[in-house]
């Protein structure tokens, strides 16, 4: 199948305007005749639900949690970018666009990223009007900070809880539409599968997590905003329920999956402390502005940090990257930390950590100044680790944090299944091979508030949609499959728990498809995943019943999908014989061990098409054409 991204013609800056003009409109009186399903209530799904309902569409919205206010967008700390140029530093739409596409190591679409930068300003306006309590300067105007290595201050924030406040803004808009009767909200529901009728997405099958009942919902279009799949690694900074199932099920129904191997690793997380660890906690990367990263020079040096003299410390980032030092991008910082630990120079109980030391900063600026900047982070660190960063260096280690890959979508955010739209982290669209700080929130809200309301109208107005009800044979067969799968999971009755399998899968991926990858490792991982998957279906134990609130069963279904999806990730990583952004193939590095792209052969989006269980997926390539930016090699020396 030829991929058509449907990018409008004309100059970059005019494409979105032109496209909006060309999109067909649904007559206001007719909007209430259309039913739209939205799965997920994070920044993307919540904002889409509210905005579509305001327009008059009939919306059914689903979330896995007990309330739409709890989606994982809530955990984002740092902030949200916009090209307002309030600080008069020369920021512009063009600059935000360029920084984002360069940050993604030139593996994203120009037209999408430019649109994102254009929309960024309206997002801030919208959120302020909703009462999001952004930080303010003394004059009462909005404050900005610099973030993630950007040379201009364009990040808006609400203390260290920007995701929370933006999500509560979205939730308030959604609540208003629920009260008005325009959105019907279904909480504690998990989408188990997508229903496709005559090639169009026409509904979903979901499990009621309280009663266990498998329920059917029909619609004229389906919007998936179900977030990222970082939990395929078992340990990540994602919330426990974050999963790949909705988008993976859609993939198996015909939606292409793009760039699954592009996953981001965040360098400043609290290290793993034991095998029972359930998740990793992120510490804002702003800490690297003042903290110095080091390890002992001699492998195996187990002395406490205070007893290691200056001459026996290796400030490896400062030594290796004299101009950027501790502020190198996320992928570079992460890879170097792992390399030091692999050499036996890691610190802490597990040897899988490096120091982030504030001693010099405290000496220079005083404890008060450092406390003002990082007090809440230091407190959070102390709460988790019982160690005081004012007195001894923090220990940090990289952790999986974000998935740039996701379902392939065109410029309208529609997947390869007509009528199936994908928003936010669940799609692949805007971040290329690496996402910059403070742009995930921007993308989620751009997709939900300002893109889908127009593009879905174009689809609905221009498409013949015969009436489909939940009695249709397609619903019957999809819900039977879903029920069978649940029954199979419960019937195995083996000897290993779901988490036990999932943890092992995580280890495989972290080792062979994590921060750096190589040919032999990826092939080995593929085999290990296949073996683990087959053991899972023979030896997993899932207690309880299907007609009940059963959290083990929920986790089992998600882990089963992760076990299939992991193989797709590995296949994608293996196929990309270059390094770019977060995908480092050890065979392709510069002399300085930076990612070495192959723009001639790999400047494309890898969109994978499901070909059947236990069959190799089919690769479709969407070429990326850069007409407005020059492709450069990153250097942080």
């Amino acid at each position: 199948m030829a991929l058509n991204a449907n990018i409008p013609g004309g100059p970059l800056a005019e494409k979105w305007d032109r496209h909006r003009f060309e999109l067909k409109l649904v007559n206001p009186a007719n909007k209430k005749k259309f039913n739209i399903i939205v799965v997920g209530t994070g920044l993307a799904g919540g904002s889409a639900s509210a905005s579509l309902a305001e327009l008059g569409y009939r919306v059914k919205t689903f979330c896995i949690q007990d309330s739409p206010r709890r989606a994982h967008s809530i955990a984002a700390q740092g902030g949200i970018n916009a090209a307002k140029n309030y600080t008069n530093e020369g920021d512009s739409i063009q600059r935000l666009f360029y920084d984002t596409i360069k940050g993604g190591d030139f593996r994203a679409r120009e037209a999408n990223v430019y649109r994102l930068a254009q929309i960024s300003n309206s997002i801030i306006d919208q959120c302020v009007a909703q009462g999001v309590p952004f930080a303010r300067d003394y004059g009462g105007l909005l404050a900005n900070r610099s973030f993630g290595g950007s040379q201009v201050s364009r990040t808006f924030y609400t203390r260290g809880q920007t995701g929370q406040q933006l999500l509560l803004g979205v939730y308030s808009a959604l609540s208003r539409q629920i009260a008005a009767g325009n959105v019907k909200m279904f909480t504690r529901r998990e989408m188990l599968d997508l229903v496709v009728v005559n090639g169009q997405a026409r509904g979903i099958v979901a499990r009621n997590l309280i009663t266990g009942r498998i329920e059917r919902f029909a619609a004229d279009a389906v919007v998936l905003a179900t977030g990222g799949y970082s939990n395929v690694f078992f340990l990540s900074t994602n919330a426990m329920a974050s999963n790949v199932s909705a988008i993976y099920r859609a993939y198996k129904r015909g939606a292409f999956f793009a760039n699954p191997c592009f996953t981001q690793i965040h360098p400043t997380c609290i290290p793993v402390h034991g095998i029972y660890q359930s998740k990793l906690t992120l510490m804002s990367e702003s800490l690297r502005n003042d903290g110095r990263v080091w390890v002992p020079k001699n492998p195996g040096d187990k002395r406490p940090p205070g007893q290691i003299p200056e001459a026996e410390r290796d400030y490896y980032l400062e030594n290796r990257y004299p101009s950027f030092g501790n502020l190198v991008p996320r992928d570079v910082a992460s890879r170097n930390a792992k390399a030091q630990c692999d050499m036996g120079k890691g610190v802490g109980k597990t040897g899988l950590a490096v120091y982030l030391d504030f001693e010099d900063a405290i000496k220079t600026d005083g404890e008060a100044v450092i406390g003002q900047k990082y007090g809440n982070l230091f407190q959070m660190y102390e709460k988790i680790t019982a160690s005081n960063p004012y007195k001894e260096p923090m220990m940090i280690y990289p952790a999986i944090h974000y998935a740039m890959g996701g379902l392939w979508v065109d410029y309208n955010l529609m997947s390869t299944i007509p009528g199936l739209f994908v928003l936010g982290e669940a799609n692949f669209s805007d971040h290329g091979a690496n996402r910059l700080g403070a742009s995930a929130l921007m993308q989620g809200l751009a997709d939900g508030y300002f893109i889908i309301p127009y593009t879905i109208g174009g689809y609905l107005a221009g498409t013949a949609l015969p009436e489909v009800t939940t009695d249709h044979a397609a619903f019957e067969s999809v819900s039977t499959e879903a029920k069978d799968r649940v029954a199979r999971l419960l019937a195995v009755n083996g000897k290993r728990t779901v988490d036990d399998f999932h943890r092992q899968l995580g280890h495989i991926l972290w080792e062979y498809c994590g921060m750096s990858r190589n040919e032999a490792g990826l092939l080995k991982a593929q085999k290990l995943i296949q073996e683990l998957r087959s053991e899972f279906w023979q030896n997993v134990i899932v207690p309880g019943s299907d007609k009940d609130f059963n959290q083990s069963l929920e986790r089992a279904g998600r882990a089963a999908d992760f076990l299939e999806f992991a193989e797709l990730m590995v296949i994608d990583a293996h196929g990309r014989k270059e390094s770019c952004g977060c995908h480092l193939n050890e065979a392709y590095q510069t002399e300085d061990n930076e990612a070495l792209r192959d723009d001639k052969n790999y400047s494309f989006v890898a969109a994978w098409e499901f070909a059947g269980n236990d069959k190799a997926p089919h690769l479709n390539e969407e070429p990326l054409n850069f007409e407005n930016v020059e492709l450069t090699q990153r250097s942080y020396k």
């Binding site: 309590p133 808009a173 359930s278």
Partner: protein, 254 residues
């Protein structure tokens, strides 16, 4: 260096709201003091699963204290005895070897039990739906800096907005009042200029909905403030009361 402890748990087990529940005793052994309370429950659940028993149901998601999904009463205190901490951020180093911990769900008329430690907090959503928003459609917003907000006011609004909607305030209040939750939202929006046009309607509607949903009244016990994991202040309840009185007496809204 790794310190481990053994503890006894008495956990409330109840299959659903229509059947009777009761405490069941479990022994959690070799618990690393670096574990969080929920990781300790994970360990107990893994063991129950391997022994062919039904694991303890409990709500949780982000495990970093921001989503508000988790929560249980541990030894009589909502989210345990550490100040400003959710259950997921409560670490086992705050317990001693051989301790007994009694674990119960939030108990309130307005929060129906679903299973074990899991309760239905949808009443909170209904209160927000009654007016916890500013009526602005997507696209209708003016340029952001046309609405200056004094820094001090923005900070106060943010203090009130930090609520994670976990329900600890209700669980710890002897009257099962939701006033800290409601007061937080009413305060945030009443403080900001953007929220003023609808302030009267909002206060009346949210407070009436709260009453209709079977939440109790405030008698100044201050338990909510003491147990709130985000340390939301009860001055927000005072502000809510002022907003409600103003709306009832002065405003034209009925």
């Amino acid at each position: 260096m790794i310190k481990t402890i053994n503890i006894t748990l008495k956990v409330w087990r109840q299959k659903s709201s229509d059947v009777k529940g009761g405490f069941v005793t479990y022994h959690a052994t070799n618990i690393s003091t670096d574990m969080s309370f929920l990781e300790m429950l994970d360990v107990v659940n893994e063991q129950l699963t391997l022994n062919g028993k039904d694991p303890i149901a409990f709500d949780h998601d982000c495990r970093e204290g921001i989503c508000g999904m988790c929560g249980a009463v541990a030894n009589g205190r909502a989210h345990g005895s550490e100040k400003g901490t959710t259950l997921c951020q409560l670490h086992m180093r705050h317990f001693s070897d051989q301790d007994t911990i009694v674990v119960e769900p939030w108990r309130s008329r307005a929060f129906k039990l679903i299973k074990d430690l899991v309760v239905d907090r949808s009443a909170f959503d209904k209160i927000i739906q009654a007016g916890g928003y500013i009526s602005v459609n997507t696209g209708a917003a003016p340029e952001a800096n046309t609405i200056p907000v004094p820094q001090e006011i923005a900070e106060k609004a943010m203090d009130a907005a930090a609520c994670i909607g976990c329900g600890a305030c209700v669980a710890s209040c002897p009257n099962a009042a939701a006033m800290l939750f409601v007061g937080g939202k009413i305060s945030q929006l009443a403080l900001l200029p953007q929220g003023k046009p609808e302030a009267a309607q909002r206060a009346l509607s949210m407070v009436r909905t709260m009453d209709a949903l079977n939440f109790g009244n405030c008698t100044n016990e201050r338990e909510c403030e003491a147990e709130c994991p985000k340390k939301i202040s009860i001055t927000n309840i005072a502000r809510m009361n002022r907003e409600f009185i103003k709306a009832s007496i002065v405003s034209a809204v009925k």
